[in-house]
Symmetry: C2
């Protein structure tokens, strides 16, 4: 990728199945994220690789399967990142805040992934549903949230009656919306939600919101 190719081999197309496959996946990710499933062009993906369209069909079978493979890899990256989570040594409040911040950062750093998820939702998650890999991918983050939540609720720190899935949805909502809808939001309300100058503001706002919700005084209930 970093212009290291000519020196290694003078001319003749070397054969490297793994590299070719990975290169197709990389370019396909970019193209699908750029234009959506129907807007993406198989020829365009091929043109950006060092191989030809023929190889896309050779390795993946077709456009549909290629998109599924792109999704599988993208979700795999997320899952791997979630497995690195290390927040359980913190007290529940700090742990949840840290988790929210990491989710925030992750969304910001994986713009292509956010687009792929939006696109997949337009297609009603049909590729995910049909994928065996994605059916069983699980979510390490959910387990982490579950344990922190249990600790916080047991100690009486957390008053809210939520489970891990709902809390995950709450955190993801804000992170996802901020990135995915920044174009229409910016155009209509004149505010760029991803302006670096406001990044810390929104990151703190998310943490404040989640903690306020979890620890709110619920005397009135």
């Amino acid at each position: 990728m970093t212009s290291v190719e000519e020196p290694a081999r003078p001319r003749g197309r070397t054969r490297d199945a793994a590299r070719t496959r990975a290169e197709i996946l990389d370019m396909a990710t970019q193209e699908f994220a750029r234009a959506g499933y129907d807007g993406a062009r198989v020829d365009e993906i091929a043109a950006r690789t060092r191989t030809t369209k023929r190889m896309i069909y050779y390795y993946f079978g077709g456009k549909e399967q290629l998109f599924t493979a792109v999704l599988e890899r993208a979700y795999g990256v997320i899952r791997d990142a979630e497995q690195q989570l290390d927040v359980e040594h913190l007290d529940p409040v700090a742990a949840i805040r840290r988790l929210a911040e990491l989710t925030f950062d992750h969304h910001e750093q994986h713009l292509d992934f956010i687009r792929l998820v939006s696109i997949e939702n337009i297609h009603e998650a049909e590729h995910i549903v049909a994928s065996e890999k994605l059916a069983a991918i699980g979510s390490p983050a959910l387990d982490v949230i579950r344990r922190i939540l249990a600790a916080g609720q047991e100690s009486g720190l957390f008053t809210a009656d939520v489970d891990a899935v709902d809390l995950h949805a709450m955190i993801s909502s804000f992170c996802f919306f901020r990135v995915a809808n920044r174009h229409t939001f910016g155009a209509l309300f004149g505010r760029d939600l991803t302006d670096p100058a406001r990044r810390e503001h929104y990151r703190a706002m998310l943490g404040d919101m989640v903690i306020a919700y979890l620890t709110a005084d619920r005397a009135e209930d």
Copy 2:
């Protein structure tokens, strides 16, 4: 739309520019929302109207302009609904909660609109940016939020340092995500965020979250 057509006119195509235009717009909204911009088929839109493809080009010019017209009308509907907002007679806490609930309901009732917004974001809001109508559409809801927020902050009820745009983003995030991403979320986490049985739960959760955030004890700051 309710099978009232044959009795009125026996056969010959009656001419009604307004009706034809509106019918095209209706079907285009459905088709674009169903399949995305590139996935939508002009022929399919035409087939669902009582007129022909020719009329789409006659009235709108092309696919691109048709999509812009669809967006313009969809956003117009939202704006009109927002102008009906009547919550300022309530105290700030109740007013914000009510506003959040109305936003929640509105998202749930306009699934096509949510999809169109997702699609427009994939295209980086290019149609909105290019539309004069949408550039000047404004947001009545923002003004309402601004006033409630000012009242709440002045009285000391609201401790959070947010402005109307950010609060609107917070509320919209949850409402939008719940509907727009329900397919991938459901497939991956096994929970249907739009299950009617959980509707009240999420509606209350949103209100709780926003109010908790706005009124949180910020002694530690």
